[in-house]
Symmetry: D3
């Protein structure tokens, strides 16, 4: 099951590299910002990861959800906390979020199985 995590990361890394190699300034800066925005600030890293997760969930972006699930997992955020964040996302975003919830659950299990 952990293959799902590896495959996701491999594809992501491969394509990011190609995109950045192209030297489009706007895209490069957005990628940069994407790293900076989740760094410790007035809000701690865990809170920011959960904010990124919920934003991704209500906008229904599976890859973005997976990315924040993985970072959340590495930051030691518990499954219960992730689920609580996702429950808010499901309430705010509606039942159309549920299919993404299923895939989020599956990916979280893959993260647990991998370690």
């Amino acid at each position: 099951m952990s293959n799902q995590v590896e495959e996701f990361n491999a594809y992501r890394a491969k394509m990011n590299e190609k995109i950045l190699a192209d030297n489009n300034k706007v895209i490069k800066r957005i990628f940069n910002l994407d790293t900076n925005a989740y760094m410790e600030g007035t809000l701690d890293v865990k809170t920011k990861e959960l904010l990124g997760l919920v934003a991704s969930a209500v906008l229904r972006c599976d890859d973005c959800i997976k990315y924040h699930l993985e970072t959340s997992y590495k930051e030691g955020i518990s499954k219960e906390q992730v689920m609580e964040a996702l429950s808010i996302a499901t309430l705010v975003g509606g039942t159309i979020v549920i299919p993404h919830l299923r895939r989020a659950y599956e990916f979280w299990e893959a993260l647990e199985a991998e370690s």
Copy 2:
């Protein structure tokens, strides 16, 4: 071709079970509401299914579309009626709905092939 229906339902059931086993109250209640909302009321079940279908289509949620297609099929809603509902969805939601229309068509054929 009917495998598409079985696979969809099997994955859906498996993950729903896991999600509900986690006992997040908000999510459990949303799942409950999702069942209640489509029951006979002032509007009949068929109309409600079509409302759910159109809402899913304009929000471009393939899994939600499939779910409502299957329930519509079981409720005896005709292909022509489903298509008419989806034509309104395509007009309101724009040509970005068309790829979902293709997959909806394919899933409807799978539903017909299965029975």
Copy 3:
């Protein structure tokens, strides 16, 4: 309170006229389709109006909601039926639909007050 209905219709009519006077073919045809799509077909006009209403609600388009509320009202759809349709929209689209629900309620009252 009925001024809300009149103002909405007056602005809508005035701007539609200007847009159509410009003779952009694509836009003219979309306007045409918008009339045709809600005509009696395999589905009756009331069902279609409710489909348009729910599509508008989950996509959170206040003007589109108002338009379909007015047509629904003229077609004799009851407040209870409209509310039931909007409850499905709120469930599918999430709590972000609620502010539009408030304005829909207010507009429905204006429609009732007007007649």
Copy 4:
């Protein structure tokens, strides 16, 4: 400037009352859930408010943003923390979030001016 806060709350309260008086079960339960979901759980109330704020911001729902800004303000969340949460929303949701950021800023000022 604090009138903005009062007007917002007055309209919200008035229309919520009317909606709930109608006894649509699905809508009533969604309103209930909306209260429960932000209560202390594994995540504390402040974190949940920020999650609700970011979800509202990326989905670009001004009224939802205002609601969570007010609750955040009452919970003692600082302007800097709110801004940091909104900066993530703007990055994830794109520059289309900026107009909502302007109105959020204005509403936050109204909240400060009111107290």
Copy 5:
């Protein structure tokens, strides 16, 4: 009628100033990028403005549409070209774009009236 343009610009400028004064790095950089992205590149400024306009229209962001309408107007893009771009937006994004089309039309007239 040109007041609409002035009011829009005044509010926009006032709030942008306040937001930028707060020194949130992520937001400041996004504002910066927003200026850079529309500068002459492989694509000329006019094409980029139309791209920004269509992106704003399908995402149904009135303020973003107004901003790009004004820049398009200053760049000498004709009304017919703007309308053709917006017709593509209406087709891709569906009839829910139409209310924004009305307001876009009104704003374009205000731009013409102002000069």
Copy 6:
């Protein structure tokens, strides 16, 4: 790698045929409009393709992106121009566009590999 292009086109053609065979008038006219809207007008075909691409990207419709990438490729639009258009889409639509950017990149490579 060019299989991705063939498979995409084959599925698209097969399902479009089935949909059109069903004779739903509204859908047929939308399909027709979809062809007409991108024809030479006041704006040239290349500009229109880029408008369609950016609209598809911010609305995060992978199939629509692929379609416009292929047409852009055939029209002789350069990779650099496509990337510049997509950089605007990523800025306007936010980091949730990035996963679609990865798949767009992959598809563009498939288009180059095919010829």
